[in-house]
């Protein structure tokens, strides 16, 4: 009787362990194959997904005004060419202005 009880206890314990293991396995997130993109990004050494792009240094106001003056002179010259010989090509001709290049 005693042995039967012991064996029954062990059996019940085994069932409980097996059942517990099954429940834990059910709650685990499904394993998916590794995302190659994430793997690639994670392996980047110099960048990170959260890094902000570097800010370009601001051009000083004096330099900006100088560029504006240059742009105006070039545009005036281009417009003079057009007025002297009005064609679509001359109206939309390109200059070396730093503002548009």
């Amino acid at each position: 009787m005693l042995l039967t009880g012991i064996f029954a206890s062990f059996f019940a314990l085994a069932i409980a362990v097996i059942a517990f293991g099954a429940v834990v396995k059910q709650n685990e997130p499904p394993r998916t194959p590794a995302d190659p993109l994430q793997t690639r990004e994670a392996s980047h050494f110099f960048t990170s997904p959260q890094a902000r792009p570097l800010e370009m240094p601001r051009v000083p106001v004096e330099a900006l005004l100088s560029q504006l003056e240059s742009h105006v002179r070039l545009e005036q010259a281009a417009a003079e060419s057009f007025v002297a010989d009005p064609t679509s090509a001359l109206l939309h001709s390109r200059t070396a202005s730093p503002f548009v290049n």
Partner: protein, 157 residues
Amino acid sequence: MTTPLNADFLQGLSTGEAERILALGTRVTLESGEELFRLGADAKSIYLIAQGRIDLTMPMQIRGREQEVLVEERRQGQTLGWSALIPPYRFTLRAAAPLRSEVIAIPREALTGYFRKHPETGYIVTLNVAAVVGQRLSLFEAMWAREMSRMVELKCA
């Protein structure tokens, strides 16, 4: 001192007529950086550049501060201040000398008074004024069209 007898608005006049027109004016010397007239001021005189250069500018907001930005350069022999002949007679740009310059300021009243007595001179000068103003209009139309074209390309490309 130079006398700009070949100035744009004196084209087609005899030397004597051109000299009589210029004699209506007063020579004004501007030091480097000195203002000739400011935006919005009453326009009572037109100015003929006898020597040097005059920059025409407009105010523009750049990084929260107002800056004068070059719109047009006028050189020796060229005239500016046409607003003195066109109602409401107020300057629409600021004019200043980037280097030491000399201009001849011709008052509107003196000029129109002379034209009343010499209508044939008035006719020739008025045609010259129309040609200069018309050319500037065409220039700015072209400059505006170019900028608009670039803006459209940027926004709608």
